[in-house]
């Protein structure tokens, strides 16, 4: 019960919003043409901070019980 409630609040509702946004453009051409991509390289539109993300994974997994959500494996240290 707690899992279902937390899932609805934290992930499922925003996920549905993104699915709707995707669906609104999915039936036609890709949403961004090559000549429209100048801003996509900006840090503000990137989710992978490289070494910063790696450090955060390591740090938070040593102080918090949760881990993951980056698509890459963490761990590998005495912080399980």
């Amino acid at each position: 019960m707690r899992i279902a409630s937390a899932a609805v609040h934290a992930v499922v509702v925003p996920l549905l919003l993104v699915v709707c946004a995707l669906a609104s453009g999915c039936g036609h051409a890709p949403p961004v043409r090559p000549w429209q991509r100048e801003h996509l390289a900006r840090r503000a539109l990137q989710f992978d901070d490289g070494l910063e993300t790696k450090f955060r994974q390591h740090w938070f997994s040593s102080r918090e019980g949760a881990e993951g959500g980056f698509g890459t494996v963490g761990g590998g240290c005495g912080c399980n």
Partner: protein, 370 residues
């Protein structure tokens, strides 16, 4: 060789790997200083990415964690007993790109006096929908040995998938799901619960993490924002019978604001919040009644499962941070090719509800394309 000497040697080796110039190649040096009431961490790291002919690419990194902790020595005149432990980690990835597909293999080795870890895996990336979307699948396995006599084992099997999509020229979104299975000693061999002795955590765990991220940039205002959300829960493997000793649920959210203060200077303000419920086997008799513990409920081990490690208890954390990233182009007359890089500096304050107390986190880095 000393730890500093090893770091310097690794830097030189990586610099040699980076001999030939190419557009996407990059060397990054970072440093972290983390300070809690009883713990200090200094972590220098260097990473080199290099494109090779015929679609190959290679990434290598080396990092060192110097962790200094204080423990109060029980005596008529209590005093701090400081000890420092050094962890070295090195890893590499070799990949090859075919049109819109990239396949990579990676390996990572981490070494501490009482912890050794070997991790290897496969990465598959696929560009989709005219390369406006990217699907990443990561499969990995790890084997760790730990303890004062390196006689405890932990195996890990991981599969993660991430899908990133450009929704418009100024908006991107990402969905991630990770599944992580652990088997072996999932704990700390040194933790002792005052009334129960050395902790005895369950020997298997399934971890689920589902994350969603959205980013938007406003070109006219020179600012952007990101929202990150993650739901985590873990469980005892469903193919096992009996009560679930894990059942920890966590919610994590983060908001980031990016402002281009000048053409070269980016300011990032972020705030992260995390809360989690306790694992069912968490038991700290100094605060909880012994009857609240999982001990009497366990049917698997004679003594039952328990841990007083606060990481398994109910907790909340908050983390506000300020980060500056400066593209060093204006210094080109002075620094020549080094001015093609960018430098970053950040400070954050980690607020914890646990006995560890709050922490200062200072990070700096320099990244140079070559």
């Amino acid at each position: 060789m000393s730890a500093g000497g090893r770091l310097f040697a690794a830097f030189v080796a990586l610099a040699l790997v980076a001999g030939v110039a190419a557009a996407e190649d990059r060397v990054t040096v970072r440093g972290v200083y983390y300070r809690e009431a009883s713990t200090r961490v200094v972590q220098p790291v260097v990473q080199v990415k290099k494109d090779l002919p015929e679609g190959y690419d290679v990434t290598a990194h080396f990092l060192m964690d110097a962790i200094t902790s204080a423990s109060v020595v029980a005596s008529p005149n209590p005093k701090d007993n400081l000890f420092t432990e050094v962890r070295n980690e090195t890893g590499f990835t070799v990949g090859r790109t075919f049109d819109r597909t990239r396949i990579g293999l990676f390996y990572r080795y981490s070494h501490e006096p009482d912890y050794r870890s070997n991790t290897g895996g496969l990465i598959l990336q696929q560009g989709v929908w005219d390369n406006t979307g990217s699907l990443l699948v990561n499969v990995a396995a790890a084997h760790d040995v730990l303890g004062a006599f390196l006689n405890k084992h932990l195996n890990l099997f991981f599969i993660g998938g991430a899908y990133t999509q450009a929704l418009s020229p100024t908006m991107t979104a990402q969905v991630v799901y990770d599944l992580n299975y652990q088997e072996g000693f999932i704990g700390n061999p040194y933790y002792v619960e005052p009334n129960l002795g050395h902790e005895n955590p369950p020997r298997e765990r399934l971890r689920h993490a589902l994350a969603l991220r959205v980013a938007k940039y406003f070109p006219a205002a020179h600012l952007g924002f990101q929202l990150h959300g993650r739901l985590y829960f873990d469980q005892y493997p469903p193919w096992k019978n009996g009560l679930d000793p894990w059942h920890m649920i966590a919610e994590t959210g983060e908001a980031r604001l990016y402002v281009m203060a000048t053409r070269e200077l980016e300011v990032r303000l972020s705030y992260r919040a995390h809360r989690q419920s306790r694992a069912a086997f968490y038991c700290a008799t100094a605060r909880d009644a012994l009857s609240d513990c999982f001990l009497g409920l366990s049917t698997y081990r004679e003594n039952g499962w328990f841990s007083a490690d606060e990481k398994y208890g109910h907790l909340t954390t908050h983390y506000p941070e300020l980060k500056l990233t400066w593209d060093m182009e204006p210094l080109a007359p002075l620094l020549r090719f080094l001015a093609r890089g960018s430098i970053e500096l950040s400070y954050g304050y980690y607020i914890q509800s646990t006995h560890y107390g709050n922490a200062h986190v200072l990070q700096t880095g320099y990244s140079l394309p070559f």
